[in-house]
């Protein structure tokens, strides 16, 4: 209604925008999942018993989102077997102040109206905000005192980088929601059926890839009359689906992360001179009509329409690309229509291509300064870690609810704090292909996730094509195997900056990313010459990039040995 627009529009537009921003970060923080590595034994008793039960029970408030959880009959996020277990084992009654699937928007309001629960999950920028507003508790000592040995190991597996991202002035202000940084690595997905049809070999170098792209476009193996080279979309710099991160990495350029330059200082990958060469190649391909001219207007879903129609055969992307968007293209009408395979990314020269990865922390858990029992949160965290590292009959309820059986109902998400191992999915790459080849599930170990993957592969091999996406990831030579290969061959380029966001980053990063996207798109679409890149670099530095770099290096000096 018009009036609503006039009156609320002024605030709603602004706030929806506010909401969008956090919804994006809020949503990504909702995607975490249980994983564990090889089982070991229980926590040790520290002087202040970290797992001591509260008697009488205490109450701890939090806020939740419930997306996709299939609750057991009669249970809700407020009343369920998992919450009961926390009360029984630790004497902690968890209470939800509010529940919403638009978590980001609601959280924003809660923070702004100074009405936050005892502990809750936030994004990196919300963490910054809370820290500045002095609303969260310093966890340094509490963590030290109450975290079990297992927990400390869990969080330090990567050498403490992820913890660093939550450490302000040597004080730990939040517990990072750990995850595998390698999940953001890139893979080269190509239609194997097209390669075979045209008699082309697997790509070993970037030059191979360009040749393959050329042949695809020229020979139109899909028979549609117009074939394009790569699948792209408007967020092509770094999106996970149909992006060009792997392509850029092939030129040893790493947009979006911080790398070491020749002098050992930090520089931002986006302005590396190597980017120019990659952009030129892309521009040439665009000029030759090898890209969908509307890619800048489309999201991955829309671009996928072209893939489904058989017009595209190459798509750089993350390891999970077979789930989305490629599943709908690969399996059509109950048949395997397109045989997509993942390959390691390739290089333009004789230096092996390294795949860029990010720190891997999607969200943080913070504790309110006003919380009466901040250490209780550490105990809850300890419990999760305990379950992950040693799943027993007694603690199965935390993963599977009261039935204790894995029903694919995502019940582990009910746990208020959830962490994934910092080397998660690497075991998948190490164990699954072997077990599949040997048809021997006992090689997998006890990790529930890996075991359920194996079962999905079995279903695929028995003819269930809806499981194709799992096959493409878990099979010998699949994306998990390549993830493991990257690790063995030391082909991960990590983000060398893992401190907390500096002031310049907070203020200018959004603007700089936008300018980057605008300029690169113009270059690729041949609206400006590739020399515009040099002008862009200068402008980037002036707009705040220089300051960002200086601040990053200041931090870097404090962590180098």
């Amino acid at each position: 209604m018009k009036m609503r627009l006039l009156k609320m529009g002024l605030s709603i537009v602004l706030v929806s925008a506010l909401g969008f921003m956090t919804a994006c970060s809020g949503n990504s923080s909702n995607q975490q999942q249980g994983e564990s590595s090889a089982p070991t034994e229980n926590k040790e008793a520290a002087p202040a018993d970290p797992m001591a039960k509260y008697d009488p029970p205490i109450e701890l408030t939090t806020v939740r989102s419930v997306s996709n959880i299939k609750f057991d009959e009669g249970e809700t996020i407020d009343k369920n077997a998992v919450y009961d277990a926390y009360e029984k084992d630790l004497g902690i009654k968890i209470k939800n102040s509010w529940v919403s699937d638009k978590y980001g928007e609601k959280l924003k309001i809660s923070i702004a109206s100074n009405d936050i629960p005892d502990f809750f999950r936030v994004s990196a920028s919300e963490l910054q905000q809370l820290q500045e507003a002095d609303m969260i508790a310093d966890l340094t000592d509490i963590f030290d005192k109450y975290a079990t040995q297992k927990t400390k190991e869990w969080f330090n597996l990567d050498g403490g980088r992820q913890l660093s991202t939550a450490t302000f002035d040597n004080r730990l202000m939040a517990i990072p929601g750990t995850d595998n940084p390698y999940n953001s690595s890139s893979y080269l997905w190509i239609r194997k059926d097209w390669l075979e049809k045209l008699g082309l070999p697997k790509p070993q170098t970037m030059q191979d890839v360009i040749k393959i792209a050329d042949e695809f476009v020229k020979q139109d193996p899909g028979g549609t009359g117009k074939t394009y080279a790569f699948a792209l979309n408007s967020s092509y710099i770094n999106n996970g689906a149909f992006d060009l991160q792997g392509f850029f990495n092939g030129y040893h350029a790493y947009p979006g992360i911080w790398v070491k330059d020749a002098s050992g200082k930090l520089m931002y990958g986006t302005i590396m001179p190597e980017m120019k060469q990659a952009l030129k190649q892309l521009q040439d391909m665009y000029k030759a009509g090898m890209f969908d001219p509307e890619f800048a207007v489309k999201d991955a879903d829309k671009e996928n329409e072209l893939v489904v129609a058989g017009k595209i055969g190459i798509a750089y992307g993350a390891f999970w690309q077979s789930i989305w968007p490629l599943q709908t293209a690969a399996v059509q009408n109950g048949k395997l229509a397109q045989d997509w395979e993942a390959y390691p990314i390739v290089s333009i020269d004789d230096k092996p291509a390294k795949t860029a990865t990010d720190i891997g922390v999607g969200s943080y858990f913070v504790v309110s300064k006003k919380a009466k029992h901040p250490e209780a949160v550490i105990k809850i965290i300890n419990k999760w870690i305990e379950v992950q590292t040693n799943l027993t009959d007694a603690n199965k309820v935390y993963m599977f609810g009261k039935s204790g059986v894995d029903k694919s109902a995502l019940l582990w998400k009910i746990n208020p704090t959830v962490f994934f191992a910092q080397d998660e999915n690497l075991p998948a790459g190490r164990l699954l292909p072997k077990a599949i080849e040997a048809k021997d599930p006992s090689l997998l170990g006890t990790n529930p996730e890996i075991n359920s993957r194996y079962k999905r592969v079995e279903k695929y091999l028995a003819g269930d094509l809806t499981m194709w996406n799992e096959w493409a990831m878990s099979k010998p030579g699949g994306s998990f195997a390549i993830m493991d290969q990257y690790d063995r061959e030391k082909r991960y380029q990590v983000n060398e900056f893992y401190g907390t966001l500096t002031p310049a980053m907070l203020e200018m990063q959004g603007i700089l990313e936008e300018k980057t996207r605008e300029t690169f798109t113009k270059i690729i679409m041949n609206k400006v010459s590739v020399d515009e890149f040099d002008k862009f670099v200068e402008e980037w530095k002036k707009l705040g990039g220089e300051q960002m770099t200086n601040e990053a290096n200041e931090w870097y000096a404090t962590v180098k040995k």
Partner: protein, 299 residues
Amino acid sequence: MQKFLRSERLPLHLMLLPSLAILAVYSYWPMAGIMIAFEKYIPTKGLFGSPWVGLRNFKYLFYLPDTQRVIINTLSIASMKIVAGLIVPIVIALLLNEVRKSMFKRAFQTLVYLPHFLSWVILGGILIDLLSPSNGLVNQALGVFGIQPIFFLGDNNWFQFILVSSDVWKEFGFNTIVYLAALTGINPTLYEAASIDGANRLRQAWHVTMPGIMPIAILMVTLSIGNVLNAGFDQIFNLYSTPVYESGDIIDTLVYRLGILQAQYGLATAVGLLKSTVSLILIACSYFLAYRFANYRIF
């Protein structure tokens, strides 16, 4: 005081009381929040405890790159929408008024109100398909006339036109209803008189109908002028892309893209305040202009 209580006007004041009470509590009381535009707002310190930074938020807004571009686009797109949004519904209301069969009228009114219910998320997808240069219906139709495919959504020369026409298409149903209601309020004896004086339908439309709906038309325009700085974030967000930033980027999309609003309450409020002030000035001007020149009070 006695005189007041016994005056004829007392009931009028009383009638306004409940509305004023609501407005006082839910519109005016929160207006104090405008202060945030001049502060560095910290939730724990609240409205009155947060540090005062004066005009710093406003200065920051003007230092952003592309500020000039987005302001021009915002004004241009919004004014075109206002003009088109005025003319089209009036014309359609007039045409509909000529229709005898009330079934047809009713059916028409129901159908054209439908697009209002679609969200721009969905419409964006439909438009991208329709206007696609490779296989969109519009370009296919153009091809029949031998015209080369036009990438409407990627061309700065066409983008604003697409924005305005699709917006009119979506919302004209709503406006037509308003004008139709106004038309039914016109005294039919006026038409009879005009007809007796020899005026044909067209002249009747000009001399009877138009003046009859003029008040509503002026009102609708004035109120939409107040909206001019909004220009339709939802729509543009779902239709624009990098190649058309030059013509399509408006204040709200720029601000959104730059993530400025993330937790920077002061900036968000400052943008809102700026827009409000401009709207106020524009509406006040229209009000006084209409009063001076047409002796007509818009509200």
